[in-house]
């Protein structure tokens, strides 16, 4: 499975061996940074403005969006080999799954 992936990755890598072709220009980076800044501003706004029941989900969604923007664009994961994504996301989702279960055993189940 990964073997074939490995080979295609290899070709891809050759294709954008020149890093300038990562699909991002300086302006692009600045735009991404501005989006991130705007999202952070929105997050901070929740502290001052009451969002009612949307408060929690909104914050969590914003957090995830920011996270994945940084990972995808600044860390180039979107443009880089899928193997890197596999390495990182395995760790990330394993962490989320395991720790969420672990917290759940504290929160919900009593006896």
């Amino acid at each position: 499975m990964t073997t074939t992936a490995g080979h295609t990755e290899h070709m891809e890598h050759e294709a954008h061996g020149e890093h300038a072709e990562h699909g991002m220009t300086t302006i692009g980076y600045i735009k991404v940074a501005l989006v991130l800044a705007a999202l952070t501003a929105l997050e901070v706004a929740t502290y001052f403005v009451d969002f009612g029941p949307f408060f929690m989900p909104l914050l969590l969604i914003l957090m995830c969006v920011k996270f994945f923007i940084v990972v995808s664009y600044f860390m180039h994961l979107k443009f880089d080999s899928k193997i890197f994504s596999f390495m990182f996301y395995t760790g990330l989702f394993l962490a989320i799954g395991v720790y969420a279960t672990f917290l759940a055993t504290f929160k919900f189940f009593t006896a």
Binding site: M1, T2, T3, T4, G6, I83, T90, G91, L94, A95, G97, V98, T101, F102, A104, T105, F106, F108, F109, T110, A111
Partner: protein, 664 residues
């Protein structure tokens, strides 16, 4: 150890004399020695490191074994007084810690280090200096953990070190501090090793070796390294919390501050359960190599073994709470984890079936390695089935923390992990040292170990089901029951068994000693093996392969030796190992650059125990350690991975001494 002190390797090509630099080199010239102690201490060669890993692990196996025998002597009679309660508690804590962290893990790392690069046709691992660092870090961690014996008593909270019993009030000696810091250090070793081996397996494979053409041992090691990569940080967090509490007054496990002792249990077992597979999967890998070779058949269902290995690795993350069925998690958690635990029995069962089917219809050759491999299948099955009985949570509440559990995991870890490692010793000894271990002694070794192991751990099933809890420094006649076959009887049998087991292990050491003294050289391919590591000299040259092979098949080496007659469908030998190696040497790669040895790994590694001692005794010492670490890190980063051109072996083509090693 006899392992290290081998004479100049037989069969290795004479290496060129070290090149004298053309000009005066200043301080910290790269070490270039190829002989003598410097060539070992500063080496980055995966094979030398593998041997050193093995030697250190063997040392700790003996230490852990002595601890085990002392435990059994104490339990040989009711209200016995061989050990005091205090010493006994230290003894079982350190027995488990030593066996898990300082024997099985390093020994598996020894095999991984030595054979993974060879099996995938690489010249070395991806990060040779990190490899050396990992080894020396392990040594440092092992020393710190065991130093506590001489500095006021070892850790006494059990290897699981449940809070709050591990807190400063309940464990007032420094033992737990040494334990926690030592394990953090060995954790660093495992983590760096994991990164290194994963990159090696993914990036350094010989041309044509796709993932699904990789030997199973390499595959399962890959799974193990992923488990380590993700499990070590979890225990690191737990140990950090514990160290912060003990050394800096944090309140993480202080119940009077409102702490929840279950936090430690979760963190420990989130690490602890994958750890079980970290211990046993390498051995599964070893016997998945041994069984096919001595059955003259490929591994049955290779993709199933690979995927079930990966599945075990994955599902292994979802079952940790089965160590906590009695901890009071609540019925929902217990039910969920109970079912998940049963689910993991399926991929494990798949492996047993595949091993059985591998020998089914084969042409079995009962060497010592094969004995151990089949022994593993049988004994592990017993351990696996007793495992199913306590996957059933209500049943587990009767069995957990009794000797039944001790029996279960010793069948899994002794019958599984250690038998696999022994199979590996007998199978790969000729590869590593160019000499075969004595087969006759080997079989005696096997039978003594099987008998000893079953006498030691078999009765523990009975002891546990009759209600004797674990971790008790004494047992009493009053609770032993009536009749001849009562709990006391089985305790005595177990103690006798442990002595037989000791004799078995001693036999192995005698075998090693005899083999080291023997002059008989092993043939190039003594077992008619199937994988790449046998496609070079024994022991392999520093650069492993004269020419990197191109891989076309799973079991490439076998397919180079044998071919199927297209008419009769009979399988016939078409070539010998000698031919293949000779052919390789004739077409040797022209210019082989190997990474140079370095001082920095061992310096960096030596800084860590200093920090640990500083945290325990005086913070200024820790600062000195930190300075060493920073210095070494930067020295390392500024150092090119290879010494300048002049330090290299001369290009192979100019090497006049290059001759075929005497074969056979």
């Amino acid at each position: 150890m006899a392992i290290i002190e081998r004479p100049a390797p037989v069969g290795a090509p004479a290496l060129p004399a070290p090149v004298t630099p053309t000009r005066t080199y200043g301080a910290l010239r790269r070490p270039v020695a190829t002989t003598g102690w410097k060539s070992w201490v500063f080496t980055v060669d995966h094979k030398k490191l593998g041997i050193m890993y093995g030697a250190v692990a063997m040392f700790f196996f003996i230490v852990g074994g002595i601890e085990a025998v002392l435990i059994r002597l104490q339990l040989a009679a009711p209200d016995n007084k061989v050990l005091t309660a205090d010493v006994y508690n230290q003894m079982f804590t350190m027995h488990a810690t030593t066996m898990v962290f300082l024997f099985v893990m390093p020994m598996a790392a020894a095999f991984a280090n030595y054979f993974v690069p060879l099996q995938i046709g690489a010249r070395d691992v991806a990060f040779p200096r990190i490899n050396a660092f990992g080894f020396w870090t392990l040594v440092g961690g092992g020393i710190i953990v065991n130093l506590s014996w001489f500095l006021g008593g070892a850790a006494d909270g059990g290897w699981f070190m449940y809070a709050p019993n591990s807190g400063p009030v309940f464990s007032p000696s420094n033992g737990v501090d040494f334990w926690a810091l030592g394990l953090q250090i060995t954790g660093i070793a495992s983590l760096t090793g994991a990164v290194n081996l994963i990159v090696t397996v993914l990036n350094m494979r010989a041309p044509g070796m796709s993932l699904m053409k990789m030997p199973v041992f390499t595959w399962l090691q890959l799974v193990v390294q992923f488990l380590l990569l993700f499990a070590i940080p979890v225990i690191t967090v737990a140990l950090f919390l514990l160290s912060f509490q003990r050394s800096f007054g944090a309140t993480f496990f202080d119940v009077s501050a409102g702490a929840d002792p279950l936090l430690w249990q979760h963190l420990f077992w989130i690490f602890g359960h994958p750890e079980v597979y970290i211990l046993v999967l390498p051995s599964f890998g070893i016997i998945s190599e041994v069984l096919p070779v001595f059955s003259k058949k490929p591994l049955f269902g290779y993709p199933f073994v690979v995927f079930s290995g990966a599945a075990i690795g994955f599902v292994g993350w979802g079952v940790w709470a089965h160590h906590m069925f009695a901890s009071g998690l609540g019925p929902v958690s217990v039910a969920v984890f109970s079912i998940a635990t049963m689910a993991i029995a399926v991929p494990t069962g798949v492996k047993i079936i595949n091993w059985t089917m591998t020998i089914w219809g084969g042409k079995l050759n009962f060497t010592a390695a094969m004995h151990f491999a089949i022994g593993l299948v049988v004994l592990f099955t017993i351990g696996g089935l007793s495992g199913v009985t306590h996957a059933v949570a209500p049943s587990d509440t009767q069995q957990t923390d009794t000797y039944y559990i001790v029996a279960h995991f010793h069948y899994v870890l002794f019958g599984g992990a250690i038998f696999g490692l022994f199979a590996g010793f007998y199978y790969w000894w000729p590869k590593v040292f160019g000499k075969q271990l004595n087969e006759r002694l080997g079989k005696a070794n096997f039978w003594l170990m099987v008998i000893g192991m079953n006498l030691t751990f078999g009765p523990m099933h009975m002891i546990g089901l009759q209600g004797q809890p674990r971790r008790m420094y004494i047992w009493t006649e009053a609770r032993a029951g009536e009749g001849l076959f009562n709990l006391g009887f089985w305790n005595r049998v177990a103690s006798i068994g442990s002595l037989i087991l000791t004799v078995g292990v001693l036999l192995f050491l005698i075998n090693v000693w005899k083999t080291a003294r023997s002059k008989q050289v092993a043939p190039l391919d003594p077992w008619d093996a199937r994988t790449l590591e046998w496609m070079t000299t024994s022991p392999p040259k520093e650069h492993n392969f004269d020419a990197i092979p191109t891989v076309r098949h799973l079991d490439e080496f076998f397919h180079r030796k044998y071919a199927q007659d297209s008419v009769t469908h009979e399988i016939k030998q078409v070539s010998t190992a000698e031919d293949i190696v000779r052919d390789q040497e004739a077409n040797a790669d022209k210019h082989i650059h190997m990474p140079s040895p370095s001082y920095w790994p061992i310096i960096l590694a030596s800084g860590l125990p200093v920090i640990a001692l500083g945290v325990i005794y005086a913070i200024p010492v820790a600062i000195v350690g930190a300075v060493i670490v920073v210095l070494a890190l930067f020295g390392w980063s500024l150092e090119p991975s290879t010494a300048p051109e002049t330090d290299f072996d001369p290009p192979a083509s100019e090497d006049g001494t290059k001759e075929l090693a005497p074969l056979g």
